[in-house]
């Protein structure tokens, strides 16, 4: 094992700076989750009643989409470790298409809610639901932009099996977006 290899295993995959960002983001989402849960404990009936109005099926489909997209990113990282740039770009493209599907379904959900006259000020449940899911939605868009940039560079042969920190950095961020949604979905759409 070379010295550089030992150094890589000392740190999480990708650029270390992204991990500081990931931990900070997890902290912010964590505050959101706990605020929601403790606000609910003060008004269980309102939260349970409002939750029934959400489209659980689209929430579950979006969960399956993000999980699969995350898996495609895992495949992209595996491809570049084998020095297969084009294959890496193709897996990333598949992940980006799924991210686009997530955004489409979420937009549909936002429009449906908005057309019912529901807004942030409707009640505490919707204030949390709209702010948390919109905050996550913005992270999906940012993750998509990162994956597109990584895909374009991979397509041009900008990464190799020796140098693919950029791919791992983008992948780590995307998995964080997935991980947060895995907590958000049961919390907001299902638990009662």
């Amino acid at each position: 094992m070379t010295q550089s290899h030992t150094k890589i295993s000392q740190y999480p995959p990708g650029d270390f700076a992204i991990w500081i960002f990931i931990y900070a983001e997890l902290l912010v989402f964590g505050i959101f989750f706990l605020s929601y849960a403790f606000a609910r404990s003060q008004n269980v009936e309102l939260f349970n009643e409002s939750q029934l109005n959400l489209n659980r099926i689209s929430g579950a489909i979006n969960t399956l989409i993000l999980i699969t997209s995350s898996y495609f990113v895992v495949r992209a990282v595996a491809a570049i470790r084998e020095n297969k740039s084009l294959l890496c770009a193709r897996w990333l493209l598949a992940a980006i298409v799924l991210a686009g599907a997530f955004i489409g379904i979420k937009l549909f959900e936002f429009i449906s809610i908005y057309s019912e006259g529901i807004s942030l000020s409707t009640n505490t449940f919707y204030m949390f639901y709209l702010s948390m899911t919109f905050f996550h939605f913005m992270h999906v868009i940012m993750g998509m932009v990162i994956l597109i940039a990584v895909m374009l560079k991979a397509k041009q042969g900008g990464y190799s099996n020796e140098d693919h920190t950029g791919v791992e950095t983008g992948a780590s961020y995307w998995h964080m977006v997935d991980l947060v949604w895995i907590i958000l979905f049961p919390l907001v759409y299902v638990m009662r």
Partner: protein, 94 residues
């Protein structure tokens, strides 16, 4: 063992993780569609969330292969968040 074999053997657990995540998500959806609630159901949902996030961190994010410190930050975070959510739901029920 050459690099290709190593990558393939690393991919296999990730494929199982993906399938597990899909099955657990469908189970969560089923619980939601049946309108189930209460302490036991919330506890099961939280355990399922903990399992899902653990395996995403370990296998997808690759933290299992790195230094324990970076993995522990996420693991401790997940346990605190899930436990506190459980406490808040318990307070709501009681």
């Amino acid at each position: 063992m050459n690099k290709t074999t190593t990558t393939k053997s690393n991919l296999r657990p990730c494929t199982w993780v993906w399938l597990t995540l899909m099955v657990l998500t469908l189970a969560v959806l089923t619980v939601g569609q049946m309108g189930l609630g209460g302490v036991t159901i919330v506890a099961l949902l939280l355990v399922s969330t903990l399992v899902k996030t653990h395996i995403v961190a370990d296998y997808f994010m690759g933290l299992k292969q790195g230094r324990l410190l970076w993995r522990m930050i996420i693991i401790v975070y997940l346990w605190i968040i899930v436990s506190m959510i459980g406490l808040a739901y318990w307070l709501g029920i009681s």
